[in-house]
Symmetry: C2
Subunit: 623 residues, 2 copies
């Protein structure tokens, strides 16, 4: 190893300046590794240090960080996620989006813990990284192609076994709800990362690496992985996850008050049986999984008849099964499969797209949108055909798609006439498939999340799957203690994500903090990592730094809010009948638990300093 290198890490941050077509390799400092661990931690640290307040996310000055954790490319399980961290053109906040598959490990093999994308290329460009060699290449040929066709073309131009992340036609057109997709069709879907790359004229990052990460204590590391695998194997969720991934819970979650129907109006949805777990197996023709993950939760579904016949594609995850399913009152699973595929191909976020379409359907029902504004389409609950056409229109910025592609918040403002009420979003990010009225801490997590209503940045498994907290069952409808509970899950998610871990196993309690400490210590040799409490502290540190980024951008308590539907319209069906979301009480409780100012929602000086963020406290004038 070189004198500066650190076990477990690749040791380099690759800084791409698209304007100058320059690639710099910066040494990763031991301090940064210790304080932020990696992945989501590196993302916010680089963003905080290098991106000025008020930067337009679509300007050359904005940055987008792709980062992995110190366990990426190792045999540690579900640990090679690639994180994308940027300021979102959709929300104006800090943002982190994350994808799986093989890109993360490949990036590590090529020798990089993070890739920072800056500047703006004059013309469509892609970056081809083969170990130390970095080329800025003309992407004119690939520009305009769907993500899968881009993959085909760019692998031909580089190396068939290379891995890549790319944007689709939507990102090129700066659609605010555009995604970044990997060659294996994993999505960093949320927040409009596709548009950030599109604005930089960067079509794709293609990577091929040959260096295995060096570990501090290989033998003990292997032992820790063995222990990790045993924990997975003991989990009652393992087999279900393997069989169907997140698609296995659609009707169950509906019965819990989630998988919210009809744009969160939560009317009874008669089609729910078409999404039962036993419906899927007949479609499955192939399985797969991410690098280094024994769960292997990918299934590929085949459609053989009707309008969508002839393809196989990754199954829609729970969120897409909702956003194009019960959210639209649509009982046609095959149409959902089609919608999901179109979003992947065009490079669109399935949650935000489905939500925007759900809003349009409700606005149409209420007469706020008419056929004049829907390009002649009738938007009737249960009819998926217009939804499929709208997906294309969103991707290509045509007609009504031009408006809906701005996200529900901005789209509703453009439409006016009271449409805002039906935009189901927080800080501009569309809600995922959980109803805050039916799970209060989960709702609180959506309200306060640093990126807006995230589907996986603080997923409250105590409320959703009924895992006991300190031996006691948590009542999802109660508001008691929910501030602390929310903070706990948010920080814990952050902890796992600085290590580059996947949230699915975390959500189903397949990780233990003690095991994570072993993995990180034996991988890196960094003494602090031995202590599980230190890891949780880093989680909290990262969470607060993200919050500070938002504070610097002008966000405060007034933005930790929720659409009035959840506050004013009682939940209409079992099991949460009559429930509303008690916003203010929950928020007070949360800020207290966080050690943040109750009035402004700003982290206090004391809190930040306790996390070693003294400079940060100064910069945001924390008191």
């Amino acid at each position: 190893m070189s004198p500066n290198s650190i076990y477990g890490y690749a040791g380099k941050i690759l800084w791409l300046d698209l304007t100058k077509r320059e690639a710099k390799k910066l040494e990763l400092s031991r301090e940064m590794a210790r304080d932020y661990i990696g992945a989501r931690g590196f993302g916010i640290k680089i963003l905080w240090d290098n991106m000025k307040k008020g930067t337009d996310p679509l300007s050359p000055e904005s940055l987008l960080v792709v980062s992995v954790g110190p366990l990426a490319g190792t045999s540690s399980q579900s640990a090679s996620r690639w994180f994308v961290v940027f300021k979102s053109p959709l929300t104006g906040t800090y943002f982190r989006s994350v994808g799986g598959g093989y890109f993360g490990a490949e990036m590590k093999f090529a020798g990089y813990d993070a890739i920072v994308v800056s500047g703006r290329a004059e013309k469509p460009t892609y970056v081809w990284i083969k170990d130390d060699n970095v080329e800025f290449r003309d992407a004119t040929r690939a520009w305009g192609l769907t993500t899968n066709m881009t993959t085909e073309l760019l692998k031909e131009e580089t190396d068939k076994s290379a891995r890549l992340i790319t944007i689709g036609p939507a990102g090129e057109r700066l659609v605010k709800i555009s995604s970044i997709q990997s060659d294996d069709q994993r999505s960093a879907g949320r927040g409009g990362g596709g548009a950030v790359l599109g604005a930089k004229n960067l079509k794709a990052i293609v990577v091929k690496g040959s260096k295995m990460p060096k570990l501090f204590d290989e033998e003990r590391f292997r032992e820790a992985v063995k222990e990790e695998i045993q924990t997975y194997q003991k989990s009652p969720a393992l087999e279900g996850f393997r069989a169907l991934g997140t698609a296995g819970v659609v009707d169950l979650f509906y019965s819990l008050g989630h998988n919210p129907s009809f744009n969160f109006m939560q009317r009874e949805f008669n089609g729910i049986d078409n999404y039962k777990a036993d419906v899927f197996p007949r479609y499955i023709i192939k399985r797969g999984g991410c690098y280094g993950c024994m769960i292997s939760c990918w299934q590929f579904l085949k459609t053989t008849d009707g309008p969508y016949a002839g393809f196989f594609w990754d199954k829609p995850e729970y969120e897409a099964l909702w956003s194009f399913g019960s959210n639209l009152g649509n009982a046609n699973l095959e149409a959902v499969m089609q919608a999901n595929m179109l979003c992947d191909k065009y490079g669109l976020d399935v949650i935000s797209v489905g939500s925007a379409i759900g809003m349009a359907y409700e606005l149409y029902e209420k007469g706020i949108l008419t056929r004049k504004e829907t390009d002649g389409m009738e938007l009737r609950w249960g009819d998926p055909e217009p939804a499929l056409e709208i997906i294309r229109k969103i991707a290509l910025r045509e007609g009504i798609g031009r408006i809906l592609g701005e996200g529900t918040k901005r789209a509703a403002e453009i439409i006016g006439r009271g449409a805002e009420k039906y935009a189901i979003q927080i800080k501009g990010l569309e809600l995922p498939a959980y109803d805050p009225r039916a799970a209060k801490a989960h709702g609180l997590s959506l309200v306060t999340s640093n990126i807006g209503a995230s589907h996986n940045m603080g997923w409250n498994y105590f409320e959703i799957t009924g895992v006991p907290k300190d031996g006691k069952q948590v009542d999802p409808l109660s508001i008691e203690g929910k501030g602390e509970l929310t903070k706990y899950v948010q920080d814990e998610t952050a902890m796992y994500e600085v290590a580059g871990k996947c949230t699915f196993p975390a959500d189903f309690v397949m990780f233990t903090r003690e095991n994570l400490a072993k993995l990180l210590y034996y991988a890196t040799g960094i003494e602090e990592f031995k202590n599980p409490d230190y890891l949780m502290l880093v989680g909290e540190r990262v969470y607060n730094l993200e919050r500070a980024f938002n504070v610097r951008e002008g966000f405060g308590r007034e933005h930790d809010t929720i659409p009035e539907r959840f506050v004013k319209e009682p939940f209409p069906r079992t099991p949460a009948k009559g429930q509303v979301f008690e916003l203010d009480k929950l928020l007070d409780d949360y800020y207290k638990a966080r050690g943040w100012d109750l009035k402004t929602g700003k982290p206090t000086k004391a809190k930040l300093e306790s996390l070693g963020l003294n400079d940060v406290a100064k910069e945001i004038n924390a008191e």
Copy 2:
């Protein structure tokens, strides 16, 4: 080499019995090699010897032969085509369809000159051939998939570098105008070969080979190839072909009276400028070519906007640019690209599909079809949208597609009410993009072709591209000497095709017969091949044997006919204004040239015996 092997040949015929799941390897006899050379020659010889009169093409008893020539897999140019020979469910005649790409060479490398498919598998099956090893494998997973998705799946299941031919959803559903597609999207499009395989429950043949063919005199063979390449290089057509392939001639051929507009009504077509050669380059993002062909006439076109945005695909060839273009009065090139892609994916013949749709458009204009029968669609000339939907319906046998997928002849019979008049077909095979009224020998070739109105089995380059015959220009509108000229081109095509050669270079006179003789002799050492006249004799022999097959099936002069449009409706525009097709005169002239009976159209005993087909003469009671 084994004692039985013959230079140049793989030496084996692989006989697949799907019913018994048995693969037999038969030795290729020296006699068969000498008398039929290969490819198209082997196809008809095997069919004639082994397929009983009156066999239902979709029964287990029917055979389908995939064959290559002795030059396949060598460095001889454009010589690795794979031929598919069978009795057509569309026409009831002998049929040969042919594709390019890499499958033909791979089949030779695996050790087979021909693969005979017989029987019927109990359930969806594919055959995986790795050199000597042949496996019958379950194709349940691939069943229902488009051809491109099948390729993806089956390469994963076998070998990423394997080559394959497959059917799509159309072939599975026994659509009469379904194709067979290769992994590199070359089509054996015509005659319903897809349905023949579909009826056998055979989804695909996947091949991987490792044996280079052994040649008789490698050094002299290389010299002959060098000479061949020089002929290519001297051809004025080479660069144009390389640049655009068959897409370069669309507007030129229109000006010659071809690329017939509006289902051969030949009204002025204002959109023709959208198909000019200079329109294509802006779409091209990739090029390619078949194994061992210096022309490399493949281009891949990209669409970046509008309803079909985001893909690249092989360019439509001349015929598809017609069948979905001027044939439908459609000026939207991108819609043609889409239609072409859909046909490739579903496994459909672009000519027959476009022609069936053209007929439907004309029937709709004439009020013979109404919206009740078109599933509510308005079929208006120039509007490609219904055409795209009909393609899907044909593939999946839905609504009007169920009827049109039978081919124009049968579809018109089903529709009745005088529709037959608008079915532009000969012996049930839809006409390609040439108007018999504007090129009489070419028309005569369509009328008399052994497979029906073929686009490439006797392409009269003297008439179409103006190559002089024996130093004299041929007037396409004259009928004089056209019997002899037609025979000449048909036999010549057969000669090149028994060698496995591509018809494109043949049509543009890039081959010479003398060079072919050298190639075949130095490859195989078979003395007879030294003599160019012998090769032409084999061409004629094969042509007559194909004819005999049809005679045995009950075909005669009455089937060598043409739709009344060409006989009764004078050609309306330049350069063939006022012309009709003089069927009877031309036919008499042709039979005379052929040495066939004028009344029955049957080859005479004398003719057959002069070709060494004494047994054949006996079997069809030739006089």
